[in-house]
Amino acid sequence: MTNLSGKCAIVGMGETVVGKRPDATTNSLHLEAIKACLDDAGIKASQVDGLLTNQPLNDAHRSYATKLSHMAGIDPLFATDLALGGATPIAMVQSAVMAIEAGMATTVVCVHARKRSTVDPSPGHPIRRGDEHWEEPWGHFAAAGGHAFAAQRHMYEFGTTSEDLAHVAISTRYHASLNKNATLRKPMTMEDHQNSRMIVAPLRLFDCSLESDGGGAVLVTSAERARDFPKRAVSILGMGQHHPHWSLLDAPTLTTLGGKKSSETAYRMAGLTPKDMQFAQIYDCFTITAMITLEDYGFCKKGEGKDFVKNGRITLGGQLPLNTHGGLLSQAHLEGQLHITEAVKQLRGNEVEPERQVPNAKVGIVSGHGGSLAMHATMILGAL
């Protein structure tokens, strides 16, 4: 088996302005992200030969990747839609690496955009989650509910409290306060968190992420070709996935998730350990998701996440800065696409506000998480 560590690199990245984008459509946000990415990489659409994307939630397509390719002037030798919920953006980069190494494409754009904050009329049909008819008759409607089940179990098994979860939200908000392209920038206190209204107990409003408009894209090519691009390339060192259940009805546990095996695969491929990571961009659809993933990724033992997130350890300047862009909780919820672009910027070393830069960042880890806490993807990135 060939080890793909370091064989491919991210050579371009683009982000749209996020938040409320009544000016935009789902299609236009994808194109805006692709354009920003190709401009950043200094190439034309005609030089791209692969495209990966995710289907719009409000408008299912037979092949959105093919449609989007041709809307952008790309003639793809490799294109497909991936469907792993919030694990999709990382899975796209992983599939791009595999396609490039298989010789099916050389230069692949991975793009993801959403319009979930403002109205977006579409002629088509929305995508459904899958088993809602086994949940909604009993009043279970929301992702907040699924994650509240996990939070309740974490509290029961390990004594975690709502105040413990608040540390994730407060640190993440501080990072968003330093990011010009973040939706919520007003610093949050413990009191703010504890006074925020209950949504699905035990999760409060400030345990929940945003609903956003926006998008992002990255361009993947071989390490060899990466030398021809103008900006500092970011090497793809480790990749992993694990999808240990499908719904809440067949989940063997809700306190250890796909992140454990997914990260083990990624660490093994990269030849690195949790101690080598200088930052972590961890999927934070809810505070509990980030806490469980920090444990699953081996930054602390299972059940010790509640202590790990305290004393500034996950804040810029601490041991493991977490979600230096403000995450899904405070920057924008674009299913983790901006966790990837943020990691790329941190590793380039000169692209974020100076107070937000992790000093001398050489290696970091990124996670994606989707469905009913079901799907997981991991990527370890390094500066070249």
């Binding site: 929305p126 459904r128 009043g139 279970h140 409607f141 996990a150 309740q152 179990r153």
Partner: protein, 143 residues
């Protein structure tokens, strides 16, 4: 599937009674029987939702068997926000994951006590809530 003004799938409060694999489940509930599929090959309970082949051994031979209706709460939450108009007057309400004695888990409601009195590990038993079109299995604390 219909959608709301932001293009999201409309949430509905009713089960999909026409799901072919699940028709016996819903029909048996009308007679106040909580049933599940037991594999004729490996003898394990399939779990939910019902499906054509055993998730443990892929056999397609099974029998619908009546369950004891006893279970334990695996986890529980309380909705303080109504995502559906029918729940506007019901918040806060409990939703629980109940692990059934013979195997299988349901998303359901523990009723007959306040949401804050539901606990992980609590022993519960099935009750049947009839509506004009279907019957829902819900659970109450074992007295």
């Amino acid at each position: 599937m219909s959608k709301d003004e932001r293009g999201r799938a409309t949430r509905r409060g009713q089960p999909f009674l026409e799901e072919p694999e699940a028709k016996p489940f819903w029909a048996n509930l009308r007679e106040h029987k909580l049933t599940a599929q037991r594999c004729s090959s490996c003898q394990k309970i399939f779990g939910f939702p019902p499906q054509s082949h055993c998730p443990h051994c892929l056999s397609n031979e099974f029998k619908w068997v009546e369950l004891s209706g006893k279970g334990k709460v695996y986890s529980h939450i309380a909705y303080h926000r109504a995502w559906h108009p029918a729940y506007q007057d019901k918040v806060p309400y409990n939703v629980s994951l109940v692990d059934l004695e013979e195997g299988g888990r349901l998303v359901t409601n523990v009723v007959g006590c306040a949401p804050e009195d539901v606990k992980i590990g609590m022993n519960v038993e099935v009750i049947f809530e009839d509506t004009p079109d279907f019957t829902l299995p819900k659970f109450q604390p074992v007295k």
